[in-house]
């Protein structure tokens, strides 16, 4: 009964979507707004990666919301699990020697790679979110391979989270006060195209986001693991 009703609903959805898709063939040419971004994105924001120039330049306000959502998820997770009595998730197997040694070798490399990814967000694929996620996956590896779980330092992670978000906002507010009166306006010089120190405020914001996302995603894992001490 339930399955039948849901299949009928899904078929109606499919029928509607197919009707709508007939207006938008796959692989057609870009429309006005996207064309503007690819044509002028280079001059407007100074980033070689047009996706970055859209994410932090044209649609930077979305990214502020996105950063807020992640911050929110971290807080919400802590709220949901905070009133719970501390309880371990059962006995852990001792990690094997290979895992442990591999971790020691890989962990610095993963952190380095994550840092590279978010530093070069305006030049190559990647950015604050991807770099932060890479760093967080390094911490997941740490939880897997270190026999006695080392808890994340909550003071440091709180500091990273808050300060990272605040840097983003403060840069936005500086843009509002300085020169032209626009929130998130790019007030730093664009610099030489396709070099590390270019694209104005974009690398600064991406570094802040990278630290913030890295510490937030690791904290989500950490809060979920919550072993009894």
């Amino acid at each position: 009964m339930k399955k039948g009703v849901s299949i009928i609903l899904l078929l109606i959805l499919l029928w509607g979507v197919v009707a709508a898709l007939s207006e938008m063939p796959f692989g057609k040419a870009k429309l006005e707004v996207a064309g503007h971004y690819t044509d002028y994105g280079k001059e407007d924001t100074g980033a070689a990666n047009i996706v970055t120039s859209v994410v932090l330049g044209y649609r930077g306000f979305d990214t502020l919301g996105e950063v807020t959502v992640l911050f929110l998820a971290c807080i919400g997770l802590a709220v949901v699990l905070s009133t719970l009595k501390k309880q371990g998730c059962g006995a852990r197997q001792t990690p094997s020697l290979i895992l442990n040694t591999g971790f020691r070798f890989l962990f610095p490399l993963i952190l380095l790679f994550g840092t590279y990814v978010f530093m070069h967000g305006h030049l190559s694929p990647g950015g604050g979110f991807q770099g932060g996620a890479v760093i967080a996956s390094g911490f997941v590896l740490m939880y897997l391979s270190v026999p006695k779980i080392k808890r994340l330092n909550h003071f440091v992670s709180t500091l990273f989270e808050s300060v990272g978000g605040l840097i983003f906002l403060v840069i936005g507010l500086i843009g509002l006060k300085l020169g032209s009166q626009y929130f998130l306006n790019n007030f730093l010089p664009n610099g030489e195209f396709n070099t590390l120190l270019s694209a104005g405020i974009i690398p600064v914001i991406y570094i802040a986001i990278g630290f913030k996302v890295g510490s937030e995603l690791s904290k989500i894992i950490d809060v979920l693991l919550e072993e009894s001490e």
Binding site: V17, R59, V69, S180, F183
Partner: protein, 495 residues
Amino acid sequence: MNEIMNLNPVLLIAVPIGLAMLVPILGLMSSKIVKWVPVVGFLFNSVVSLAVLPRVLNQPIIVKIAGFAPPFGINLVAGPVGMFLAALIAVSGFLVAVYSLDYIHEGAAEKYHILFLLLLSGATGVVLTGDIFNLFVFFEILCISSYALVAYLGNRSGIEAAVKYLIQGAIGSSLLLIGIGLLYGQFGTLNMADLAQNITSFSEPSVFVPMILMVTGLGIEAAIFPLNAWLPDAHSSAPSSISAVLSGIAIEVGLYAVIRVVFTICHVTGSFFVFLVAIAVVTVLIGEMSAFGQKNIKRMLAYSSIGQIGLILFAFSLATEFGVSGGLFQMLSHTLGKVLLFLSAGYMIYRTGSMEISSFEGVGKKMPWTALFFTIGTLSIIGLPPFAGFSSKFLIIKAALAKGDLLYILLMGIVLLGTVIEGTYFFRVVQVIYFKESNNKTEPEGPPVSGLISMSVFAILVVLIGLFPNAILKILTTAASELLNNLEYIRSVLG
């Protein structure tokens, strides 16, 4: 004063978000000041939004984020509708924050304040933004913080309600995102004014399907009839101050987004409104009839919110200037009345220790002020003069009659029947509060000063608006013409 008037409306969103991110750092230093942060934030928001409001009545303020012109960058449209709702959110947020100063004492209070700030900044973002994807992002902020706050108390019913709410909310936001993708694929823009300019007819499947998807997705948050299963559980399991905000603000923001999609982006005409009116009438009846049988006060109030949402939707789908301004007025009076009801019920529950209506016997003598505020809220929601609810319901009735169609007059009759049911169950509660003697001899003390202040301000606002409805009628008619006349909206955004 002049300087405040010239402040950028983007601060209404940026300042609460910034304060929320500042709270963990402040919490490391001192836990005492944390609870004042939302108060400060929403005081700022109230002052700014009330100061800017008169200015936008003549000319909407278009805020270009990062300095890119509208179709290319994100823009905020601080028009009459947006600023009116933002001011409403800010003022009620401020008063509820004052109320929470002493009300929130269990659980992780620091995180409560962060979530409260983010919930309302998400709501402000939804009403101010002029970009459909940006609306989605702020909508998610609103939804995720509500999930967390519903589960805040951490009891069995709270967790269960949050789980149900999250499943339905997540489906809703996915549907919304599919709708946005379909619109972007055809028109290549995400700006609401630009979309509205490009959409010529709403009845083609390529526009109709995304519109239905978006209305469904947003309608889950607005609790329109077939999508309202989560609401009574969620609103009754949250802390009372949060129930107040969810019932008074969150669902109205959802409804605002539905109205924005239907009126401004797709510019719907004719037969679709008949469909909306039918849904609205069913929503009123379902809400009021379910509320009638409730023994739990918060569930009763939550179901009554469903009925009120139906009434607001009914007013909007009349699609006349009278009707839309009546709907906006009803939003205002519902917010004030329902927040007042939840806040006063919160202390009555706290002092008697039970949510059952029957346990409120004798509260009228022991907590006279709280009982008085509850009664004022009740009378306003039912729609008796001289309270705010009367003026708004009267305006809606006038609008339905002015429509001149027998169908609408008939449906209005059904909606009035819903109001009669509403009156019955609310009077039953008032009767229990005042005219039943309690066997319980313990003396429940009244609420603390902060609670009294915030509730009395709400009560004063309800009475004042009820006595002088003409004072805000100008704002409402300007706002209604912004919603009805989407050419005006397009011209003011795109220039």
